[in-house]
């Protein structure tokens, strides 16, 4: 179920070819298979006690539910009102129970019957209530476990997975797909609650009149077949509706996202026509579905009435012939409802089950996805502190086989050195730092930290010692303080505040309504680009990593903040090995060495002055690319 740790590392030069496209495939309807169903039910095993309570309660409640109409029909109508004692029809001992209550409490038979009726009703519905709650608990807890397992699994998938699969596709598996199972599992649980009275009612009805019951039983396959054909027919329409609805939504979403282009291209009328065509199609499909649903629904609703007419017609004769008592006939009519309900419920569950099984398949597919980073079987112990020497030794890497992104890259960075990496988009800068932070698998003997082969170290341990500031600062749900501490108990509040002060983030933080305790909204929209950058610095600085990796943000920042950030950056890089993907002139100029990368190859290394003097790529890049506007004035 969970990914097993790979024991023998596969040659990472040939990454296993996986078809991530399966995550894009839209499975929306699927016939249930026993194995998947069993696998699903297995999640309820830890909560089997609740499930057992639920089952016992429903059996108990169903039995009482059967007794109630028996009291009315047999005890009151047959026994009291028409005093028909000639026939010995089944009454499940209710007559004698009422008689004994009447004896003991000295009440009239009618009063005793009413008392019994009242008590049984109360107990019966309380039991049903508890049955539903225990059932909901069982299902909800099982799904909670499943959802957590799924999230934990996805959370640990490697970068290669997230490079290929869109976030939205994975997200809906954790949210919507798990939720879709709730309806199905509750429905199945409730169905048990419907079938128990069905069986008891069937037994009792057979005892009253096998002939009448026989007629009713003929009706069941007829309804079942009708239901089946109806569901087959609606399935097609619903599939069409799902398609047209998602087309409507996609069209609108895209149109709104690109509304400026739409308006500037004068496409409004054309787009409206396209939308309306889908809208019309959707409307026709909806009307078809509504008509079918309504017809079927009304038919099923009235099955009870039709059965009643038949019973009166046939059963009436039997009463005359004194084969059954009038009370029993009335009882019979009351049971008809219990008899027909499960069939209706089953019909309603049909679509739910098919849709839910598709969800189940999507969930298991994600849960079974065993892509992972190759960790060493016996990771080497890390020194208490790295000196910070980083060495790339003839490093070659590609995300896809045959498409190298980094080619024969060699570079040694001395402890405490500050290196800026520059190069055009797609030159492999980001890949280089991703490899160093151990987000991907790569060849042995390629990257060394303090002369230790990176592939011999555990990735978690390495990441703990390397501070990474990515372009896009990710805000975790929580306060400013929590975003700096990240739940690390070793980091005190004072340390976090101190780190924020070092990078000059304290000024804006203290200006926030609740200072360090201000809740950041999830995308950090209440922070400016520059403020987020400073916060990211503080987060890394407080951990005091031996090696710093920074992917500088490219976004435009106002001059004042720019200056603050540069000062903070100097703080941050002081005394530690720093590798900076630089976009700003000042950052580059302050580096000890500049590495020029082009198409994955190291082209030039040296100080700013040396590189400018050699008039190579760096010189050209510098001339053309760096936007000096923002650093000016």
């Amino acid at each position: 179920m969970t990914a097993k740790k790979q024991q023998s590392p596969i040659d990472p030069r040939q990454p296993a070819l996986r078809d991530h496209g399966v995550f894009d495939a839209e499975i929306s309807y699927k016939a249930p298979t026993l194995s998947e169903f069993v696998r699903l039910l297995a999640w309820a095993i830890p909560h089997r006690q609740q499930a057992l309570y639920s089952l016992i309660l429903v059996l108990f409640a169903s039995f009482l539910a059967i007794l109630l109409p028996v009291i009315v029909s047999r005890v009151i109508i047959d026994g009291l009102l028409i005093q028909d004692a000639t026939l010995t029809m089944p009454d499940l001992g209710m007559s004698s129970l009422v008689a004994s209550i009447s004896d003991r409490l000295g009440l009239s038979v009618l009063a005793s019957a009413l008392l019994l009726y009242g008590i049984l009703t109360l107990v019966c519905h309380s039991a049903y209530h508890l049955h539903r709650i225990t059932l909901a608990r069982t299902v909800m807890f099982a799904l909670r476990d499943l959802r957590l397992a799924l999230f934990s699994h996805i959370e640990r998938l490697p970068s290669t997975f997230f490079d290929k699969v869109a976030v939205g596709r994975v997200m809906t598996r954790v949210t919507n797909d798990v939720q879709a199972l709730f309806d199905m599992l509750m429905g199945i649980g409730m169905l048990i609650g419907e079938f128990v009275p069905f069986l008891i009612a069937l037994g009792l009805m057979l005892a009253i009149s096998a002939e009448l019951t026989g007629y009713l039983l003929i009706a069941i396959p007829v309804f079942a077949v009708l239901t089946y054909f109806f569901r087959m027919a609606t399935r097609i329409v619903y599939r069409q509706i799902r398609t047209s609805v998602s087309q409507l939504n996609q069209n609108l979403q895209e149109n709104l996202s690109g509304i400026q282009v739409v308006q500037l291209s004068n496409r409004e009328r054309r787009n409206l026509a396209t939308y309306q065509a889908i809208n019309d199609r959707n409307q026709r499909q909806e009307i078809t579905a509504v008509s079918m649903e309504t017809g079927y629904g009304a038919f099923m609703d009235n099955m009870v009435n039709m059965a009643l007419a038949a019973i009166l017609w046939i059963g009436g004769g039997e009463v005359i012939q004194a084969q059954i008592s009038l009370g029993s006939l009335i009882l019979f009519t009351q049971f008809v409802d219990m008899f027909i309900r499960p069939i209706r419920v089953l019909g309603q569950q049909y679509n739910v089950i098919f849709r839910a099984m598709a969800s189940a398949e999507r969930i298991f597919q994600a849960l079974d996805w065993d892509e992972q980073l190759h960790e060493p079987t016996h990771p080497l112990p890390l020194p208490p502190r790295f000196r910070g020497k980083v060495e790339f030794r003839d490093l070659s890497f590609g995300y896809e086989p045959g498409l190298p992104v980094i080619k024969h890259f060699s570079l040694t960075i001395a402890p405490g050195e500050k290196v800026a990496i520059v190069g055009p988009t797609g030159s492999g800068k980001s890949t280089l730092i991703r490899l160093l932070s151990r987000s991907y698998d790569f060849n042995r003997n390629s990257i060394f930290i303090d002369d230790l082969d990176l592939t011999d170290l555990s990735s978690d341990a390495v990441r703990d010692r390397i501070g990474v500031v990515l372009q896009d600062f990710h805000i975790f749900a929580g306060t400013v303080l929590e975003n700096i501490q990240l739940g690390d108990p070793r980091i005190s509040r004072a340390a976090a505040e101190q780190a924020a002060a070092w990078v000059n983030a304290d000024q804006f933080i203290n200006a926030l309504p609740e200072g360090f305790d201000t809740l950041l909204n999830e995308r950090g929209q209440n922070l400016s680009q520059g403020q987020r950058q400073l916060l990211a610095f503080a987060r890394v600085l407080v951990r005091d990593p031996e090696i710093l990796i920074l992917d500088e943000a490219t976004a435009s920042i106002d001059t004042e903040t720019e200056q603050t950030i540069q000062t903070a950056l100097q703080q941050l890089t002081r005394g530690r090995t720093s590798i900076l993907i630089a976009h700003r002139l000042q950052t580059i100029q302050e580096a000890d060495r500049i590495v020029v990368l082009k198409r994955g190859e190291l082209k030039e290394v040296g100080s700013h002055e040396a590189l400018m003097a050699s008039r190579g790529i760096y010189y050209t890049l510098n001339q053309l690319q760096f936007q000096t506007l923002e650093t000016l004035s």
Binding site: V72, I76, T121, T175, L256, D280, Q283, L312
Partner: protein
């Protein structure tokens, strides 16, 4: 929105389909009559059976036969009428929803940037999907249920009173209790279900944010902490669900218990009346059926209020958008002359809503037809605002913008935007083919024209690299282009239109300078005699223009050719020097 004002707003939409809607409502009333007649007929049958002078089998059959036949007919009539009426009403709901969706789409396309800044796409999507569904439910479900409720109660009570008014009164005693509980629980369930919906949204947002930042999460080794946070949300969501389920299960248990009180009244008081000879056995049993019939409307009466509230809030949210007037409205008597693309700004000022500072202040300049103007300035200097004023995405607060000596307001909006083409800084591409994206304004454009503009935008090598060429599908389900490729595709989309005035809003930011040079040269050739306006941060780009406008804080600080501006002290020369400086090394 109150229920009354909701109805008033929806009235015109419903009245467009008045015949099916009200016909359906009338049908529902008739169906209720048939339905309520069934227990009445059953009573006749049972009375015949229970009659003390045991008649012969033949006599009974003669009595029961027609009754059973009439019951069958009533059931059939009830089914048929119900089906047709329900379909008529639900159909109206579907059609009104489709009408509204169409109207909303049309209306949204007329809105400007201020509107879209106020309403994020997600919010608008929610209104178009969920709130229109609520309107549909209101028309097809809630209003129908309300009517059925009233009909059933009226018809059912009438039949019961006809049979025995004493027993009817007695049976109805617990009714207020039922309505009370139903109302209380409907509120509780509504709130609880809102809480679970929020919980679900919370969970979804958390997962989405987490996955969006998964690189950071993993780089900072935060997986276990994120899982813990998820677990607590997950637990809260499960608890909320169970709480909701408890409430709905509780009302499901309370209702039959209260109904049992009515049943006990029928048993106790009914059998007393029977023994007293006031009612027949058939009446006695018929009351059980009527009770079952009435139980539903009494129970629903409580939740119907909540349903109306929900429908009203959905309706209000849809109309909030539909009532929002478009920012830009065409003037009457618009003109359609052939345009050459000369521009003149006369003391133009613009301020964003709720801002004190001007984004553009008293700006005056002109560009003769066929010339190229570069606009240079810092971030926030008003460059983008200026461009948006030209295509009337924004309307100036003061002053006038002339295109071919005519105020741009005099042109119909589609005509203006046909002649003035703005290429945005952020290149938005549609999930369509590459060719379809380039020929976005007119899908009937020839392959040749597409390739020519792609060539000018230096996109030809990109196209050649794709096996499917121009037919390559972009977006989530297709190929993802790099930032530079996207920008060039957006550029090609603008170039292809050969509009008298082309405006480029910093369209080379993700394009390397070599390619930029190539594109600018191509543009010069292609657009000879046409007017071009471009925003840039680079002096090397601006140098290509005939004249340069330097903006700072919304004001014009310099205007002239590159050569002239270089002789003057100011922002432009500083800028040029700064760029020069980096060419020669620091200091």
């Amino acid at each position: 929105m109150t229920i009354k004002s909701t109805l008033r707003r929806l009235w015109p939409y419903i009245q467009q389909h008045a015949l099916p809607f009200w016909g359906g409502m009338a049908g529902l009333l008739i169906a209720r009559l048939f339905e309520a007649a069934i227990p009445f007929l059953m009573k006749q049958g049972i009375d015949a059976l229970a009659s003390p002078d045991t008649p012969s089998l033949n006599e009974i059959s003669n009595t029961l036969g027609p009754i059973a036949l009439i019951i069958v007919l009533c059931v059939t009539a009830q089914i048929v009428v119900t089906i047709f009426s329900r379909i008529l009403i639900r159909r109206t709901g579907v059609i009104v929803a489709a009408d509204m969706r169409h109207k909303l789409y049309d209306h949204l396309q007329k809105q400007g940037p201020i509107f879209f800044a106020q309403y994020p796409v997600g919010d608008l999507m929610a209104r178009a999907i969920n709130d229109i569904t609520r309107v549909r439910e209101l028309i097809a479900g809630t209003s129908r249920t309300t009517m059925v409720l009233i009909f059933t109660a009226t018809v059912g009570l009438s039949f019961m009173t006809l049979l025995s008014w004493q027993l009817t009164l007695a049976v109805m005693l617990p009714a207020p209790l039922i309505t009370y509980f139903a109302h209380v629980y409907a509120q509780r369930i509504y709130l609880a279900s809102q809480r679970t919906q929020e919980g679900f949204a919370d969970l979804s947002t958390f997962v989405q944010q987490n996955l969006n930042g998964i690189r950071t999460v993993q780089a900072m080794a935060q997986e276990h902490r994120e899982i813990e946070k998820f677990a607590s949300r997950n637990q809260a969501f499960a608890d909320d669900n169970i709480a909701l389920f408890k409430d709905s299960s509780a009302i499901g248990a309370i209702m039959p218990v209260i109904a049992a009180i009515s049943t006990m009244i029928i048993i106790g008081y009914g059998s007393h009346l029977y023994q007293a000879g006031t009612i027949s056995l058939g009446t006695f049993t018929a009351f059980f059926s009527y009770l079952a019939l009435l139980l539903w409307p009494i129970r629903e009466a409580g939740s119907i209020v909540t349903q109306w509230q929900r429908g009203a809030s959905g309706t209000a949210r849809v109309f909030e958008i539909l009532d929002h007037p478009p920012e830009i409205v065409d003037q009457p008597n618009p003109t359609h002359p052939k345009l050459t693309g000369s521009i003149e700004f006369k003391q133009v000022s613009y301020r964003f809503p709720n801002k004190d500072q001007y984004a553009i202040e008293a700006l005056s300049f002109s560009v003769p037809a066929g010339k190229t103007l570069a606009v240079v300035g810092r971030v926030g200097s008003g460059k983008s605002t200026l461009l948006r004023l030209l295509v009337r995405m924004l309307e100036p607060e003061q002053g006038e913008i002339l295109l071919d000596q005519t105020p741009i307001r005099a042109y119909p909006l589609p005509y203006l935007r046909k002649n003035v083409c703005l290429v945005l800084q952020d290149p938005f591409l549609f999930a369509d083919s590459l060719g379809g994206n380039i020929a976005y304004d007119d899908p009937d454009r020839s392959q040749e024209a597409i390739l020519t503009s792609a060539q000018a935008a230096a996109l030809n090598s990109t196209i050649e690299a794709f096996p499917e060429g121009l037919d390559t599908v972009l977006g989530e389900r297709g190929v993802t282009l790099s930032g530079g490729q996207k920008q060039r595709a957006a550029l090609a989309r603008g170039i292809i239109r050969m509009s008298p005035l082309l405006i480029l809003d910093d369209c080379f930011s993700a394009v390397d300078t070599e390619t930029e040079e190539h594109i600018l040269t191509e543009l010069k050739l292609l657009r000879a005699g046409l007017t071009t306006l471009m925003v840039s941060n680079r002096v090397s780009t601006a140098r290509h223009a005939d004249e340069i406008l330097v903006l700072d804080e919304g004001k014009q600080v310099a205007f002239g050719t590159h050569e002239v501006l270089m002789t003057q002290q100011g922002l432009y020369r500083d800028l040029a020097h700064a760029q020069q400086m980096t060419e020669e090394g620091p200091q």
